[in-house]
């Protein structure tokens, strides 16, 4: 028997978003909006070469230019230590982080930062960049992941020895790590299969494509009170990474969160902050650095391109007997692709007795990849869901039915080890089958695809403060930047516990000096984990208010209960007292011991996995190769949608990004390893006119470990679209799509054979 949904008064309501007016009026302050007296503008010089040894950097002419106040290169940074540093979700290799921030001995990709200039204007800083003389020794480069794995491939790091291989190789290579997960006996499983499909799929590197380029303002002070203003997915991680690279104590740096214009995982690391702070130290002036869009593409992390070989066997009645995946992910110039979660998510939707997944994390001369929404999962889902689609065709079984027969459920042990508790995957499949979209007729040249997806969701360290103001209004302080609507969700959960109208609650994002440490806004964790911290802080407030009511009434604490925003006698036996509202108690706070402040610091546990099922219809123009998505329905188990509009927004946003990944987006390099499309004119993200209305269905199977049943929702919706679109196109043209993006020229060449 699963956990039943919790009845709520406010959680689940569509209140007006707290950041809405600021954003539509242009009043919101983003990373580039900060101005300080005497502030200088800084620009970064980037390598035009894919792979080159830096023999010499002469900055003298730049430094002599009128208006230039400081120039820094890698040599100005403290020596990089072999250590790891807190990156908000996991430890980060400090040496790689520092070298990616500013090249030392070698430039490892087109766009790798090699120097920075601070000047009185951006144009002077740009002029000064032209005066910096860098002597490069060009080295052979490698872009493609499979080429980078070859024995004779140009080597990026002569100290990289593949981990995860026993014994560890003595010869260096570009393969940073090999990983493996397995269960059962795949040879036996394939022998039991009536049908086996094996294919190799390829996806291109794609950028997160956030609207707001990276930006930072920094002010160094000699008395240990430096400050940074920036938009990020976690200002505590910005603090830890910046201070580690500049040999500072964390208390010496205060990081202020700006509004964030999209992150999708790409703003979980640093590109500018230590550079700005070092330039500030050197010049004695505040510094602002704002990336151009070209720099965003060339110098900040996209996700990995991938090659995923997949083999699945099934019986004619639809039981999957075995599955194998071998995936190769581009990490960019430094180790750390999402190959591991790619492996872990590959078969997570299904209960498969015999399975094996092997992954490779491979470096090549591309920008270091960064997290991108459900990192690693969309690529393996593209492969697995495409093969399942083909199997359903071969055994003439409805594709939803095939998935239903093999669906993970409570008690299923995922290949990565965990045994699922209450999950809602089957419910999403049932909702898909029952949806009118699934049985709607298709027009000429149209095809329909379905695909499913999974993401773990996580918890982690989280804090919250709640201040009860003298007039009975309430201020919530959250430690996490709001990317996907967390402020509204926190307000709703606080209102639920406090029993007051959300209109009485305002919320702010605290900086690193005003609230305790919290992990990143990422991994679909904030509404779940920080929400739990808010619930705990609100319970702390209620406890204090009840204690005060008990003292006023001269009864035991147990004789007081909190409901509808007021303390009440728990029973008629306690006595006949008029309720004391939150406002009554707040007004007397000074007489009752001081202001009521609720606080919570937790390491949130019990994150509930999320699953989604998507239905996509496309229409193919067989003369031009253009694909139009004509109808799309996304179905997802949210556990409990705290603010349904935001959940729907997450689902629609994930679909839009996934459609771009499927149809148009890709990094294109020339023979010299230079990126040829670093701008939105040539790197084509879907725009509103490309997309139909994305219909959403929220399924609510409660997460038994959250007070309201919440699961994370932000990552799952980007997992199915690659395969959903590809399966739809495959049916429309009756040829299997094995490579993304399915751009018009690629599709035309497939149609033409």
């Amino acid at each position: 028997m699963g956990q039943e949904p919790v009845e709520t008064k406010w959680v689940g309501k569509r209140i007006v978003r707290p950041d809405g007016v600021d954003k539509v009026t242009g009043r919101a302050n983003f990373g580039a909006d900060m101005n300080l007296p005497g502030m200088l503008e800084a620009k970064i010089l980037r390598s035009p070469h894919a792979h080159a040894r830096i023999k010499k950097i002469d900055t003298s002419k730049a430094e002599a230019l009128k208006g230039v106040h400081a120039v820094v290169t890698g040599a100005d940074f403290p020596e990089l230590k072999a250590a790891s540093v807190d990156g908000g979700e996991a430890q980060v290799n400090l040496k790689d982080l520092g070298e990616n921030l500013m090249a030392r001995d070698k430039a490892l990709y087109d766009g790798h930062a090699v120097a920075a200039v601070a000047a009185t204007s951006a144009s002077i800083a740009n002029d000064a960049l032209d005066l910096i003389e860098v002597e490069y020794e060009l080295l052979p480069h490698v872009i493609d992941v499979e080429a980078a794995m070859k024995d004779d491939a140009p080597l990026l790091h002569d100290d990289m020895f593949t981990s995860g291989v026993e014994p560890q190789p003595k010869k260096p290579s570009n393969i940073a790590a090999r990983m493996e997960f397995g269960a059962g006996d795949t040879a036996k499983g394939f022998a039991e299969a009536d049908v086996i499909v094996e294919r190799t799929f390829r996806t291109a590197a794609t950028h997160q494509g956030y609207i707001e380029p990276h930006a930072a303002v920094a002010e160094w002070t000699e008395d240990g009170q430096s400050r940074i203003w920036c938009s990020s997915q976690g200002h505590f991680a910005i603090r830890s990474m910046t201070t580690a690279l500049l040999d500072m104590e964390e208390a010496e740096l205060r990081v202020m969160p700006a509004e964030i214009g999209g992150g999708f995982g790409g703003k979980t690391t640093i590109y500018l902050e230590p550079v700005a702070l070092l330039l500030s130290k050197k010049s004695g002036r505040p510094i602002r650095i704002v990336m151009s869009r070209e720099e965003v593409f060339r110098g900040s992390g996209p996700t990995s391109g991938s090659v995923v070989k997949t083999k699945i066997g099934a019986t004619n009645d639809g039981k999957i007997t075995a599955g194998e995946v071998e995936l190769k992910y581009e990490a960019g110039a430094y180790a750390g692709s999402p190959a591991m979660p790619g492996c872990m998510t590959a078969f997570a939707c299904y209960d498969i007795e015999n399975a094996k997944v092997v992954g490779y994390d491979v470096v090549s001369n591309r920008p270091k990849c960064a997290a991108y929404r459900a990192p690693g999962a969309p690529m393996t889902a593209f492969a697995v869901e495409s093969v399942l689609d083909e199997i359903s065709e071969k055994i003439k079984m409805d594709p939803v039915e095939l998935r239903m027969k093999n669906a993970a459920k409570e008690g299923t042990r995922a290949l990565y080890g965990a045994k699922f508790k209450q999950i809602g995957f089957e419910e999403t499949l049932k909702a898909a089958k029952d949806h009118p979209h699934y049985s709607a007729p298709l027009g000429p040249n149209q095809g329909r695809g379905i695909a499913c997806g999974f993401w773990f969701n996580i918890g982690g360290e989280s804090t919250a403060n709640i201040n009860v103001n003298p007039d009975g209004s309430v201020t919530v302080v959250s430690p996490n930047p709001d990317i996907g609507g967390s402020r509204a969700s926190m307000v709703l959960m606080a209102a639920e516990v406090l029993g007051i109208d959300p209109e009485k609650i305002r919320i702010t994002i605290g900086d690193t000096a005003s609230i305790g440490y919290s992990g990143l806004t990422g991994g679909s964790r904030v509404t779940f984990a920080v929400g739990m911290a808010v619930v705990e802080a609100a319970k702390d407030v209620v406890k204090q208010l009840c204690e005060r009511a008990a003292k006023i009434w001269e009864v035991d604490f147990e004789g007081v209960e909190w409901r509808d925003g007021a303390a009440h006698p728990a029973s008629t036996n306690v006595g006949d007292f008029d309720p004391l509202t939150l406002g009554d108690l707040a007004a007397q706070a000074g007489k009752l011991g001081g202001t009521v402040v609720g606080a919570s610091s937790i390491n949130a546990r019990g994150a509930g996995p999320g699953f989604g099922t998507h239905i996509c219809d496309v229409e193919v123009d067989k003369e031009t190769g253009r694909v139009d998505v004509v109808r799309y329905t996304a179905i997802q188990d949210a556990g409990k949608a705290v603010h349904p509009s935001y959940v729907e927004g997450q689902m629609q946003g994930g679909v839009a990004q996934g459609v771009g990944w499927a149809l148009n987006e890709e990094y294109i390099y020339n023979d010299d390893g230079q990126l040829e499309n670093p701008g939105f004119l040539d790197y084509r993200v879907p725009v509103t006119s490309d997309m139909p209305m994305i219909d959403t269905v929220i399924v609510e199977v409660p997460n038994p470990f959250h007070p309201y049943g919440v699961r994370g929702v932000g990552e799952v919706p980007i997992v199915p679209p690659l395969a959903a679109v590809a399966n739809a196109v495959s049916h429309a043209v009756e040829k299997r799509m094995e490579q993304l993006p399915i751009s018009p020229p690629r599709l035309l060449s497939i149609i033409d054979g």
Binding site: E89, M344, Y416, F456, I458, G523, N603, R605, G606
Partner: protein
């Protein structure tokens, strides 16, 4: 005795490919220390590189979490989201 579940990778590296076995430990921290004794380096590796799932609940990092005799403790690679 808690039941320990490891991924293939970790088992290849530390336990001669044995992915499930029993181990002593009244808390997660004690289990790490016990695993370090029985399989040198395993406890430290798990502490640094994995999240802990106890009886199906993702507890991530939980040094002091008590373990029962029938607890199932699964170690999964740390997950980084986007």
């Amino acid at each position: 005795m808690a039941r320990v579940v490891l991924s293939t990778d970790v088992a290849n590296q530390f336990t001669d490919q044995v992915t499930e076995f029993e181990a002593e430990g009244a808390t997660v921290r004690a289990l790490y220390r016990a695993l370090d004794k029985s399989h040198p380096g395993l406890g430290t590796f798990l502490e640094e590189s994995t999240f802990v799932v106890i009886n199906g609940e993702m507890v991530q990092d939980a040094f002091l979490e008590p373990l029962e005799d029938d607890s199932e403790v699964v170690f999964v690679p740390k997950i980084k989201g986007g």
